[in-house]
Every structure is written in structure tokens, then in C-alpha cells.
């Protein structure tokens, strides 16, 4: 009860808009080589890591911000951002999760993420990232029994340096794009997963990202490696406090699937969206890419994008291995003044590779929702197959929905289908539901859920329930 009322008091519509009052350890504002050295030193990183960061930073300085996306925002001052912020800890640092700052534990509790031992009933291992650092990882013992490595990437740098060094930047190189280069230079933490040969990860893995401090940016880096014949289900969630300023979130996620391995990566993105007038909110400029390196490997991205003032995100699959498969399932909901330019890239390189794209966009209020996707069949991709479906739904006459699919075929044995449609909620369907006693809001919510069903059914059960609730809540506030 208490939780609810305080959230309502602070947050209004956005239930996660509260701020945790906690002492933080931050670096000065701005970005230069000294800041990068400072971050690296704070994290006590190996020498090669610092080299990697500096190389990325030097490259980033030569790059220009991309402007091709269908989003508008004032120019970001990269010198006006705090690149590192961490909850203060004792010199020793907590040995176990129970020794964590109670304020921190409470924060995650309020977000619905139980970290303390006795509460861990959900059967999902969680790595909680607070501002710039990982504060704790649960279920480590269970995972260790199966040989699964799940920890923060800073920890992995020390304990599994060889793996990190081998794979970091192998899917998203530092020169990939402006924000990926920035991330490589300043990333502060993130999750690291390694699933050994033939192991099916016994529980779902999850990372929960929370931005708390003001004027900071969050730059996390996730690296998931599924070795031969392994399987892992990975979930990701995120929230941030409600503020008038815009905060930058530029993450990089790299997935690597070796022979016969499968990675399922699901995201429910619920960063603060800004208020009704479009003030504040998170700029979510993210690079996510998976590499199906092995034969018959599989990577699937499922995302529910319902937050952030601006989203700029294209989870992609590079299908190298023969017979590998990529999938992208997405629901993007925009309301008020949100802008989303999201989609995927499927690059078919290997023979008999397959990809599926299902994208559902819902725009309400004054928002802009664009799907931008690319399907590329390289000359070597004999027998490639792609199916894409992109549907948009418009609610209200002030929003817009755009579709920009790029289809490039360089091998004639490929078979591709692309379909897209845009429509609004059918009056007849609404009338029917209302004649059955549902009010307008319930009826719209039901129709939207039906519209998104193809994507929701790809989510793990808990996430699916959360996603449905989230969409319901968002619609409540935006359907007039």
C-alpha cells in the first residue's frame, strides 16, 4: 500500500518516476581522455581495456552524430553529461547481497525486482544495474553448478578476461556507429553471460537497469555468449526517475551464438518518456546486434518499447552460420510527444539462413512512430528466406506512423516477402465490444492486445504479463 501511494505522489502517471536518495560516487562532468582513465582506474581495469576505450574515444572524436533517423531533438552537449555515477560503497564492498545498502534494496523492491535472498522465489537470476554499476547478481550458485557464468562485465574482465577480450567488440566494433563508439569509450558496467557447451541454462537470466542520478548518462554493455549446443533465455528491463531534463542512454548489446546454440533476448523498455508536453525523458540510442556465428544457431530479439522520449534502436542479426535463424518481434507504443525510430537488420550471409520480422507499432497522441528495417541477402546466402510483417495502428489524428523497409537481394535463390499495413482501430470492432458492456478504454486495450498478440506470445510468461499490464497502463493515459 505504502509503495503505491508514494509512487503516485511522486510519479503521477509514470509509476517508476521516483528518485532514490543515496550517496553517489561520481566523476566530474564532461568527456576527455582523463575522464576515461579515471573511470577505468575506478574499476581497476586491466591495461588492454583502457587501451580499447581510448582507441574507441579517439575514433569517436572523428565521427559525426547520425541525422538520418526520423526524430527531432536539440543537439546533445556531450560535455554536459556525467559519465560515471555509482552508489557509494564501503572500502571493502559488500560480500553478499544482504550487505547491500538497504536504500538500494528498497529501490529494486519498489521496482518489483527482489534482490534479497529470501525473496528470490521468481526463479529468475537478476543482475541489477544502478546508474553506472552493477550492484548485485542473484542465483549465482545455482548457475555456477551448471557452469554458467553470469556476472557484471566489470567482474568478468577480471575473472574471465580472456573471454571478454575475445568477444568484446566482435559483433559491434568500435567504429560501428557514433553511439557505439561512445559506449565503447565510456561504458561503465553491464552484464556478462557465458553458457558453456551443451548447457541449457536452468533459469532465465535477467538484467534490470535503473538510472537514478541526475545529469548522468547510462552506458552499459552486455555481452552474451552461447557456446555450442547451449540455450539461454535472457530478459532485460529498465526504468528511470521523472525529470525535466533529458538523459542519454547509449547501450551496446552483443550476442554470439555458436554451432546449434540459441539465444532468446527479450526487452521490456520502460524508461521515463517525458511529461505530457514532451519535457524530459530518456534518449534511448542503443545498438543491439547478434551474430549467429555457428551452424544452425538461432537468435531472437523480442522487444516491447513503451518508454523513452526518443528511441533509436535496431536489434539486428548477422546470419553467418549455415542454416542459422534470426527473428525480431517488436511492439512499439508511443504516446504524447514520444518519438520512436526502431526496427531491425537481418544480414543473410550463410546458406539456407532464415529470418522472421514481426513489428507492431501503435502511435497515439502527438507521437511519431517509425519502423526502419533492412533485409540484406548477400551473394553467398544461397536459399535464404525472409518473412517480414510490419503493422501500424494509429490512435488519434495527431500522431504519425511511418514505414521504411530496405530490401536488398543479391542472390536469386532467396525468397522474400514483406507486408505492411497501417490502419486505425476499427469502429465496428469497438462498437461490438462496447455493445458487450466494455467501456471504450477496455475495448481499445483489448483490441490493441489482439493486435500485439503475435509478439507477446514470444515473451516468457512473467514478461508477457508485465508487457500486457504496461501497454494497458500506457493506453489509459493516452486514449482520450
Amino acid at each position: 500500500m505504502e509503495q503505491k501511494s508514494s509512487a503516485a505522489a511522486v510519479g503521477g502517471d509514470y509509476k517508476y518516476g521516483f528518485v532514490t536518495d543515496i550517496e553517489t560516487d561520481t566523476v566530474p562532468k564532461g568527456l576527455n581522455e582523463d575522464i576515461i582513465r579515471m573511470i577505468s582506474a575506478k574499476k581497476n581495469e586491466p591495461e588492454w581495456m583502457l587501451e580499447y576505450r581510448l582507441k574507441a574515444f579517439r575514433h569517436w572524436q572523428t565521427m559525426e552524430e547520425p541525422t538520418w533517423a526520423n526524430v527531432q531533438y536539440p543537439k546533445i552537449d556531450f560535455q554536459d553529461i556525467i559519465y560515471y555515477s555509482a552508489p557509494k560503497k564501503n572500502a571493502e564492498g559488500p560480500k553478499t547481497l544482504d550487505e547491500l545498502d538497504p536504500e538500494l534494496l528498497k529501490t529494486f523492491e519498489r521496482l518489483g525486482i527482489p534482490l534479497s535472498e529470501q525473496k528470490r522465489i521468481s526463479g529468475v537470476a537478476v543482475d541489477a544495474v544502478f546508474d553506472s554499476v552493477s550492484v548485485g547478481t542473484t542465483h549465482k550458485d545455482t548457475l555456477a553448478k551448471h557452469g554458467v557464468i553470469f556476472c557484471s562485465i566489470s567482474e568478468a574482465m577480471h575473472t574471465h578476461g580472456d573471454l571478454v577480450r575475445k568477444y568484446l567488440g566482435s559483433v559491434v566494433p568500435i567504429s560501428d556507429n557514433f553511439y557505439a563508439a561512445l559506449n565503447a569509450a565510456v561504458f561503465t558496467d553491464g552484464s556478462f553471460v557465458y553458457v558453456p557447451k551443451g548447457v541449457t541454462c536452468p533459469i532465465d537470466l535477467s538484467t534490470y537497469f535503473r538510472i537514478n542520478a541526475s545529469e548522468t548518462g547510462q552506458f552499459e554493455r552486455t555481452l552474451v555468449i552461447a557456446d555450442e549446443g547451449s540455450f539461454v533465455n535472457y530478459l532485460e528491463g529498465c526504468t528511470a526517475p521523472q525529470r525535466d531534463e533529458n538523459q542519454l542512454h547509449a547501450a551496446v548489446v552483443e550476442l554470439i551464438a555458436l554451432d546449434h546454440a540459441e539465444i532468446k533476448y527479450s526487452t521490456v523498455q520502460n524508461w521515463y518518456t517525458g511529461d505530457k508536453e514532451g519535457r524530459g525523458g530518456i534518449y534511448n540510442f542503443v545498438t543491439k546486434r547478434g551474430k549467429c556465428a555457428g551452424r544452425e544457431s538461432k537468435i531472437s530479439w523480442t522487444q516491447v518499447e513503451s518508454g523513452s522520449a526518443i528511441t533509436w534502436k535496431y536489434p539486428s542479426c548477422v546470419l553467418l552460420g549455415e542454416g542459422s535463424q534470426g527473428a525480431f518481434y517488436s511492439v512499439a507504443l508511443t504516446h504524447d510527444y514520444m518519438q520512436a525510430d526502431t526496427g531491425t537488420k537481418m544480414i543473410h550471409v550463410g546458406k539456407n539462413t532464415k529470418s522472421t520480422i514481426i513489428s507492431k507499432g501503435i502511435s497515439t497522441g502527438h507521437s511519431k512512430n517509425s519502423y526502419r528495417g533492412q533485409v540484406k541477402i548477400m551473394p553467398s546466402a544461397e536459399g535464404a528466406r525472409n518473412y517480414s510483417q510490419c503493422d501500424s495502428m494509429l490512435v488519434g489524428d495527431k500522431s504519425s506512423a511511418n514505414t521504411y523497409p530496405y530490401i536488398e537481394v543479391k542472390n536469386s535463390t532467396a525468397v522474400l516477402e514483406h507486408e505492411a499495413s497501417t490502419s486505425r482501430i476499427s469502429e465496428d470492432q469497438l462498437f461490438y465490444l462496447q455493445s458487450r458492456g466494455l467501456d471504450t478504454e477496455q475495448a481499445i486495450s483489448m483490441l490493441v492486445q489482439g493486435f500485439c498478440k503475435d509478439v507477446f506470445k514470444q515473451l516468457p510468461l512473467e514478461f508477457s504479463v508485465e508487457a500486457v499490464k504496461l501497454i494497458e497502463m500506457k493506453l489509459e493515459n493516452s486514449v482520450g
Binding site: 511511418n402 523497409p405 530490401i407 536488398e408 543479391k410 525468397v415 514483406h418 505492411a420 499495413s421 497501417t422
Partner: protein, 464 residues
């Protein structure tokens, strides 16, 4: 700045010095003289497009930019005699309402047939400027409102701007209110080009075919634009056609491109549609080494409707690029697009279809489909159907497919004792014919079907 632009500047300066450009001052087309100056500014500053521009991402016109451009001269009697065979193959086997023939952009009266239908005016530019028919004079000066640069905010390509600056003659088609024309009006543009050389940079002649067409209230007609050139000759044709469809008019428009195998065709068609007008457009691309076509349709008043189709059949190293942009400016408008392509050898096709539905354009309905059939291993297709929608009460959809012939289909033909090559040709013909069968006019269908058959049979299909 590149070679071609320098040459175009010289050409323009010389033409001005010799007063060789059409004198428009004091005529109903006086506004075009001002447009000419604006257009020069555009292409001489921006230059020709490069692949860095989104609209030219998949099509490089470097070969044109690097070429040495010469202005195509008007043909003398000897040149015409040499082109007689091209003229012969350009002929379409239909009864025509009128036919204007242009060689290198100049009107050739002896090859043309003028109309004998009340209310229909099909004229060369010179004749149109001399015309004392009030309807013609009014229409020509009113075209400024729909096709002047103010109406397009300078959004046309550098090639369309080149046409506006350098055109020497034009085909003018004007149908008065209530005029009904049952047989096609054919506008034939023959390019002579220069013999192509094997070494770069190429020497290229430039031609600027131009069409100004206006269909009055309740009028009906068929226009077939027929572009052709000899094989082996190098040239660049920057055609620009402007069509104005008046209230409740019904116009079928076919642009048939059969340029020579070393020719470059970079053309634009702009259509303005008034209330309840209907456009039935088909863009057929069979020839040219590189063909690019931009089709812009503005559905400017309620009830306007456009069927916008295309067909490309390409082989060898041919490159064809179709860009369509349909603007639903107001509500209760409808558009339907079907572009089909057959690709053989190492040819490459690009399709970019953009549908724009304005914020007030409620109850708009639009659909778009691009189907591609690939017959060889090395052909390449890049397709990009775009939707930009700002109104909520609309129906919009697009689709794109890329595939090859179904082996089961081929097997069926073979089990009926039809050899593989014929089977492929028959299936490909069936695939391509669909767009022709979507034409409302039987006369137009009859005129086009043999051309499609000939193009498909010309593919040297390698059967695997």
C-alpha cells in the same frame, strides 16, 4: 564540380548567346522563362546527384557525371534517313488519334499525324505558342500554378531541372472540357546519340524531351509516351512530363521506355489531379543501359484516384530504378500501385515507392505492391516501399516480394512436353502480363501485349 555539369553550363551559355532557346516572353508560357533561370541555379549549384543522397542510394549516375556532354543537334535530312529504321521499330500497331514524333527533342512534322477531333489539341511547342485558341492560351499560363517551382518547392531532381533549362521543343496535349478521345495519342521521342566508345570518359549527347498535357473537365484520353533510340549509341535523355488532370477527367498514361542498349534515360513525370479525376498510369521499362524514372502524383482534391503501375524486364548489365511518390494531400483519395519486374543475367532493379498521407487526408486509401521475379543467379534487386502517414482514419498497405519461378510449375510444363526454356518464357510472360491486363482500355492492352511478349522472349534464359 564534375565534367558533365561544366559542359551543361557551356551549352547553356552558348544557347543563350545565340538566342537558340525558345523565346517565351510575351507568350502564355512566359512563366517558364523564369523557371528556366531558377532551374539553372539548381543544377549548376547542386550538381548531379551522388549515391550519398538517400534517393540515389542504389543508383549511381557517375557515368553521366564523368561524361563529356554535347548538345544533341537537330537532325538534318541525312540523319533522318539513317533513323528511318529506328522510327519503323518505334511504331505501335494501333490506330491513333494523333502522333507527334520528335528526334533529339525537335518536332518532325513529316513523321507526325495531327488530330482531327473537336476540342483536342496535340501540338509542338511552336504551334502551341502561336495558337490563338483561348482555351489553349489559358491552360498554358495556368500550368504555372501546378508545375511551377513554387508548387514543388524545388523538390525535383537535377535532371528535371536540366530539362527545364535546356528543352528546345515540347509535345503539348490539351483536351478541352468534355472532350472524349477513344484512341491513343502517341508522343514518340527518338534519340540519335553518338557512337559509343570503349574508353572512358564517354562522349554523350544530351536530349531533353518535354511533355505538357492538360485534360479539361470531364474529358477522357489515352497518352502513350514512346521513348526509343538505336543500340550502340550513347546519349542521356532527361525527359520531363507534366500532366494536369481536371475535375472528373479520366486519363490513361503509358510511358514506354525502349532506349538503346548504351542509352541513359533519367526521366520525371509529375501529375496533378483535381477533384474526382482518375489516372491510370503504366511505366514500362525495357531498354537503356541505365534507366531511372521518378513519378510524382499529387492527389490534390477529394475523389481523386490513381492506379500507378509499372513493369520492367531487364537483362545483361541493365539497371532500372523506379521511384514513385504518391501524395494524398486531402481526404477521400485513393491510390493503388503494382510494380512488377523480371530480371535476368546481371541486371539490377531498384524500386522505391513512397506514399505520403497528409494529416487532413482522412479516409484515404492506398496500397502498393512490388513483385520481382529473378531468372538468373547474379541479378540484384533493392526494393524499399515507404509509408508516411499522418492521418488516423486511413487504410494503407504495402508489400514486396522477391523470388524465382516455382520448380513445381516448371516440372508441370515439362511433364506436358514443353521444353524448359519455353516454359520459363511462358511463365515469365504470364507474370509480366498482369500489369497490362490491369489497363482499362482494350486498345492500350492490344498495343502493349506484343511488346511484353517480345521482351520476355528476348531473355536468354539459362535453365538450371
Amino acid at each position: 564540380m564534375n565534367q558533365a555539369i561544366e559542359n551543361f553550363k557551356q551549352i547553356f551559355a552558348e544557347l543563350q548567346a545565340h538566342r537558340a532557346l525558345p523565346a517565351l516572353a510575351g507568350t502564355p508560357l512566359a512563366w517558364l522563362e523564369r523557371e528556366r533561370e531558377l532551374a539553372v541555379e539548381k543544377w549548376s549549384v547542386d550538381g548531379l546527384p551522388t549515391r550519398k543522397l538517400e534517393a540515389w542510394k542504389y543508383t549511381s549516375v557517375q557515368a553521366i557525371s564523368d561524361a563529356e556532354i554535347v548538345d544533341a543537334g537537330g537532325p538534318d535530312a541525312r540523319a533522318l534517313a539513317e533513323l528511318e529504321s529506328v522510327h519503323e521499330s518505334a511504331r505501335m500497331q494501333v490506330a491513333v488519334a494523333a502522333e507527334l514524333v520528335f528526334v533529339n527533342g525537335r518536332f518532325i512534322p513529316q513523321w507526325s499525324t495531327l488530330p482531327h477531333i473537336a476540342g483536342l489539341h496535340v501540338l509542338s511547342l511552336a504551334a502551341a505558342l502561336r495558337s490563338d485558341v483561348p482555351y489553349v492560351r489559358n491552360v498554358l499560363s495556368a500550368m504555372r500554378e501546378t508545375f511551377g517551382s513554387a508548387a514543388h518547392k524545388g523538390a525535383e531532381t537535377a535532371f528535371a531541372a536540366l530539362n527545364t533549362s535546356l528543352f528546345r521543343d515540347a509535345a503539348v496535349v490539351i483536351a478541352e472540357d468534355d472532350c472524349f478521345v477513344g484512341s491513343p495519342i502517341i508522343l514518340t521521342f527518338i534519340q540519335s546519340g553518338t557512337a559509343s566508345s570503349r574508353v572512358a570518359p564517354q562522349r554523350m549527347t544530351a536530349v531533353y524531351p518535354k511533355v505538357l498535357a492538360h485534360f479539361g473537365r470531364h474529358s477522357q484520353g489515352h497518352v502513350i509516351e514512346n521513348h526509343i533510340g538505336p543500340n550502340g549509341a550513347t546519349y542521356v535523355s532527361t525527359s520531363l512530363s507534366d500532366l494536369h488532370l481536371g475535375d472528373s477527367s479520366h486519363v490513361s498514361y503509358v510511358k514506354l521506355q525502349r532506349e538503346g542498349d548504351h542509352g541513359f534515360h533519367v526521366g520525371t513525370t509529375r501529375v496533378f489531379q483535381a477533384r474526382d479525376s482518375r489516372l491510370d498510369s503504366l511505366q514500362i521499362s525495357l531498354g537503356a543501359k541505365l534507366a531511372r524514372h521518378d513519378l510524382k502524383v499529387r492527389l490534390a482534391a477529394p475523389g481523386a484516384e490513381a492506379v500507378v503501375d509499372g513493369l520492367y524486364i531487364v537483362r545483361d548489365h541493365q539497371h532500372v530504378d523506379n521511384h514513385t511518390a504518391i501524395e494524398h494531400a486531402v481526404g477521400d483519395t485513393r491510390s493503388d500501385q503494382l510494380y512488377k519486374g523480371v530480371l535476368d543475367d546481371e541486371s539490377r532493379a531498384v524500386f522505391n515507392g513512397r506514399i505520403w498521407i497528409n494529416q487532413d487526408a482522412q479516409r484515404s486509401n492506398s496500397s502498393q505492391l512490388n513483385n520481382n521475379l529473378i531468372l538468373s543467379m547474379k541479378a540484384e534487386i533493392d526494393t524499399k516501399p515507404e509509408l508516411e502517414i499522418f492521418a488516423d482514419d486511413v487504410k494503407a498497405g504495402h508489400g514486396a516480394t522477391v523470388g524465382r519461378l516455382d520448380p513445381e510449375h516448371l516440372f508441370y510444363f515439362q511433364s506436358r512436353a514443353i521444353d524448359p526454356a519455353s516454359a520459363v518464357a511462358m511463365l515469365a510472360e504470364g507474370f509480366a502480363q498482369e500489369v497490362v491486363f490491369r489497363r482499362g482500355s482494350a486498345v492500350v492492352r492490344e498495343a502493349l501485349l506484343p511488346l511484353v511478349r517480345q521482351a520476355v522472349r528476348g531473355l536468354k534464359v539459362s535453365v538450371r
